[in-house]
């Protein structure tokens, strides 16, 4: 009926023999009385005359004291064996707890927060484990992190629960279920407990393709109310032709059933740029544009604050962050025999520092970000990071000229290429030019039916763009597309993007570009935690969990350079924090957790130790009251 889960019986017997012998030895030593000299023993004799009559009873009491001590010892040693009812051991369960640590679990509808209440519930489940049950605690956000082994050790499990932290990501239930299935493979009494507020995305999709192999899935609901107002989207971009100014797009979402008023603040470089009041209808998603803003050169942050009786339970989605590329003057070298169209186009961007030289002149000693070559090759000793070839020369160019072509246009082009952003090339007419012959690794950005006419690539570490015709031989120079093409190309070379700056999204793996040839970088998160990341192929990989500004540092000492970037939650599903009391996985409704009641553990060693303690107290009391001596 009772089985041992700890030390085997023979070991217990050995321990009892050794410790019991020691107890006996101590008992014999205890019987060696202390000596006390008295002046007149006959007086004591008179006193003891009555006691001697009950000497036999005294001896019996002494033996009782010894037996009590041995019994106490036996209880404690038996407790070492961890005795448990055999029937309970046979029906033991193996439980994987998927504890939702997504952003919605940061909601404050429960005190102090959903995640803390969820942790308390899991701790209660741990306390309610049966005698042979084992449990594994896993933190489930966009990633799945097991925090303990499959264990019956309540201390280990509670420590794992203590380490759970909610992140600014959405929970990936599919990943969690797959992990649970793999962890429970081949184990008896498999059970999966999902402790969540139910904001788990599309549950029909989550359950698809996951064969849980008969594991029982239970749901422990967390949360009470779902009133929330969120910033669901946030983007910012500089104007292409006036990069000191920018415009902001953001999307506000009211998930409540009532009209709410909020205060929306925009902060540029930590200073308030704009404050406005916004009214949101019930369940309304409101996009807002802020045009022609100025006053921020680096960071931009949006904040919302509920006003009046508006309730906002989730602070995590009340902030959004963006980082604008650093503004600096781009040094451009133009090698041209003279080109009015080119000159006019480059004048449009006041942040360009243009140096003009004749195609027969020597290259200046200065270093340039971009060299624009108008039908020529770069002069000897030209120092430039990137090259734009307009009318690629037959010799000395980055690509070969395949053949002469006439009366052609752009029939195909890469519409997603940053070079051709906001440009319509359908009707461009070219009288004469060359079909280019790109090398392996080069990218054809635009081509006519006669061959590639716009190619980008990299030569000796320097990026280039080659145009297969002279712009003056086309109507391109008469179009708005011409200056846009030039400025897009220069911006692409210097990596100064003027598109909407959608920051990194949390819950995804970020490929962070790392300047230089560093092999490791340091990444400081919004919470101040610093991680060291390895760099591979010029990029560091990082799984982003928290929203806010990140700081990527490369190098040491004076050569240390730091790059900032931002990350946002930007997941409307996580902003819908209305808790679900029931959950349906696929088409199967999940049951409530059962069998975790108090006393289910049935570990007898607690009672044995308690009994030992009580006996010890009794023995102590009776000894000092001279009952058992």
């Amino acid at each position: 009926v009772i089985g041992l889960g700890g030390l085997p019986f023979l070991s217990l017997l050995g321990i009892f023999a050794v410790v019991g012998s020691a107890t006996l030895a101590l008992y014999v030593l205890k019987l060696r009385r202390r000596s006390m000299v008295v002046p007149f023993a006959p007086l004591w004799r008179r006193v003891l005359r009555d006691q001697e009559a009950s000497e036999l009873w005294s001896r019996l009491k002494r033996i009782f004291s010894l037996l009590l001590q041995l019994f106490l010892l036996a209880l404690l040693i038996f407790a070492l064996g961890d005795p448990r009812p055999t029937a309970r051991r046979a029906a033991a369960r193996n439980v994987v707890v998927l504890l939702d640590a997504s952003a919605s679990m940061k909601a404050h509808d429960l005190e102090p927060s959903r995640i803390e209440v969820a942790k308390e519930r899991v701790n209660a489940l741990v306390d309610g484990l049966g005698s042979g049950d084992r449990m594994l605690i896993a933190e489930m956000d966009a990633d799945l992190t097991p925090l303990s082994t499959m264990s019956s050790d309540t201390l280990e499990l509670k420590e794992a629960v203590r380490r759970v932290r909610a992140s600014d990501t959405a929970a990936d239930l599919t990943r969690g279920l797959l992990f649970a299935r793999d962890s429970l493979r081949g184990l008896e009494g498999a059970e999966i407990l999902i402790v969540s507020d139910g904001a788990l995305g599309d549950l029909k999709e989550s359950g698809k393709g996951v064969d849980l192999a008969g594991a029982r899935v239970s749901f422990v609901p967390i949360g009470e109310s779902g009133d929330n107002v969120a910033i669901s989207q946030f983007s910012v971009r500089r104007y292409p032709l006036d990069k000191s100014r920018y415009e902001v797009f953001l999307e506000l979402c009211n998930t409540t059933e009532r009209k709410v008023e909020i205060e929306l603040s925009l902060l540029g470089d930590g200073q308030v740029v704009d404050v406005s009041r916004v009214e949101l209808e019930p369940k309304q998603t409101l996009p807002r544009f802020y045009q022609d803003l100025a006053g921020a050169s680096r960071t931009l942050e949006a904040r919302i604050k509920p006003l009046g009786d508006a309730i906002d339970r989730l602070p995590a989605d009340d902030h959004a962050y963006a980082l604008m590329p650093e503004r600096r003057r781009t040094r451009v070298l133009v090698v041209s025999p003279g080109n009015t169209y080119l000159e006019a186009a480059l004048l449009l961007d006041e942040y360009l520092e243009v140096t003009w030289i004749d195609d027969r002149a020597k290259a200046p000693a200065a270093h340039f970000d971009v060299a624009v070559l108008d039908g020529t090759v770069p002069p000897e000793a030209t120092q430039a990071d990137a090259y734009l070839y307009l009318a690629t020369p037959a010799t000395g160019g980055p690509v070969k000229l395949r053949r002469v072509i006439e009366d052609f246009g752009f029939d195909e082009w890469d519409r997603k290429s940053p070079l051709l952003r906001w440009i319509a090339l359908e009707n461009v007419q070219v009288s004469t030019g060359y079909a280019l012959e790109p090398e392996r690794g080069d990218k054809v950005v635009g081509s006519s039916e006669l061959g590639p006419i716009l190619v980008s690539g990299n030569r000796a570490g320097h990026p280039f763009v080659a145009l297969g015709f002279e712009p003056k031989n086309s109507d391109l120079v008469l179009r708005v597309a011409w200056p846009l093409f030039l400025l897009n190309t220069i911006d692409a070379f210097v990596e100064e993007d003027s598109q909407y700056l959608s920051s990194y999204r949390t819950g995804e793996i970020w490929q962070l570009p790392v300047p230089g040839a560093a092999t490791t970088v340091e990444l400081k998160g919004p919470d101040g935690q610093i991680d060291k990341l390895a760099v591979k192929s010029g990029r560091a990989t990082y799984f982003g969990r928290n929203a806010g500004f990140y700081e990527l540092s490369v190098g040491d000492g004076s050569e240390r350079s730091t790059t900032l970037f931002a990350a946002n939650l930007s997941d409307i599903d996580e902003s819908h924090i209305t808790p679900k009391k029931e959950l349906t996985l696929g088409s199967v409704p999940l049951a409530a957790a059962q069998g975790f009641g108090a006393g289910a553990r049935q570990e007898l060693w607690h009672y044995l130790v308690l009994a030992g303690f009580v006996l010890s107290v009794i023995e102590w009391a009776t000894y000092h009251r001279r009952v058992t001596v």
Partner: protein
């Protein structure tokens, strides 16, 4: 006042006890000189002194007349009687002689029990009483009894002999058993001259304290009992299982000391003292309890005087 600490030194200086060392300071000494041990009976003395005796002699106190006989000193003839009655009568006067005082100190092991306070107290009392006796020109004999045997300082007179008394007391050791009956038997055999016998003892005699006192009574001594008591003896310090040894006989007994037993022991000690008091009262033997916690000068100057032992 704590002069007997000097006694216990291994190498006492000679003379070991000087007034300047506080044996008796001047004031206390004067008070002692004004005291005298009271004897309720009149004993025959040996030398002329200040005590009334049974003898008729040349004292100042008129005692009786007798007929003149040839050879009588004419100075003692009462000529007024002769003139009135025509008879020659001679005036007799009481002779004043000395008193024999025996100070018997119990030197058994129980007297030195613990820190030896009882033995110190006994010797202090003995010294003080000896001085009182010597100051009154009495014959003082100091006796130490232990193991049924007797060691004594021969009878001596005069204040100057007090240092002899001190040296004798200093040599006494608290060891051996208490056998008062046999010791007193030896004492009465050795000392034919009757007198006051002051027994200074804790009376822890396994054979019974009565035997020793009765021996003095039966041999016409006038016994006084100074019962030296140490209250700490009735309150054992240990607790729990102990083996109790008698300090004199070595008799052992296993005891578990509890609060209840401690109370019983205290009661037993009280009963024993009451038993002694009852015996002394019944047999008209003056009894004085000399507790170690009571300063000995207070015992001498107040308790003993109030009890009629000193005047």
């Amino acid at each position: 006042m704590n002069i007997f600490e000097v006694f216990t030194r291994k190498k006492p200086r000679a003379p070991s006890l000087r007034p300047s060392e506080g044996l008796f300071d001047d004031d206390f000494q004067r008070k002692l000189e004004s005291l005298a041990i009271v004897s309720r009976r009149v004993f025959r003395g040996r030398l002329r002194a200040e005590r009334r005796s049974k003898k008729r002699g040349s004292g100042l106190e008129f005692a009786d007349y007798r007929d003149y006989a040839a050879g009588d000193d004419f100075r003692f003839v009462d000529w007024n009687i002769y003139q009135r009655f025509g008879k020659l009568l001679v005036r007799l006067y009481e002779e004043e002689e000395d008193l024999s005082i025996y100070l018997i100190v119990d030197c058994s092991g129980s007297m030195g029990f613990g820190s030896g306070e009882k033995f110190k107290q006994a010797r202090r009392l003995c010294a003080a009483l000896a001085y009182v006796g010597l100051a009154n020109l009495d014959r003082v004999t100091v006796v130490g009894v232990s193991n049924g045997r007797v060691s004594h300082l021969p009878a001596t007179r005069g204040k100057t002999r007090i240092f002899k008394v001190f040296r004798f007391l200093d040599q006494l050791k608290a060891e051996g058993t208490t056998e008062l009956a046999s010791a007193m038997k030896t004492f009465v055999t050795q000392h034919k001259r009757r007198g006051v016998a002051v027994l200074i003892s804790d009376l822890y005699d396994p054979a019974g304290f009565e035997g020793g006192i009765n021996m003095l009574r039966y041999d016409k001594f006038e016994p006084y009992v100074l019962h030296v008591l140490d209250p700490n003896e009735a309150s054992p310090k240990l607790e729990g299982d102990v083996r109790v040894y008698d300090c004199e006989t070595g008799e052992a007994r296993e005891v578990t000391l509890t609060e209840k037993l401690r109370e019983q022991v205290q009661t037993a000690f009280g009963d024993y003292r009451a038993e002694i008091e009852r015996f002394c009262a019944k047999n008209q033997v003056p009894y004085f309890a000399a507790e170690t916690e009571v300063p000995f000068d207070e015992l001498i100057l107040r308790v003993f005087r109030r009890g009629g032992f000193l005047r």
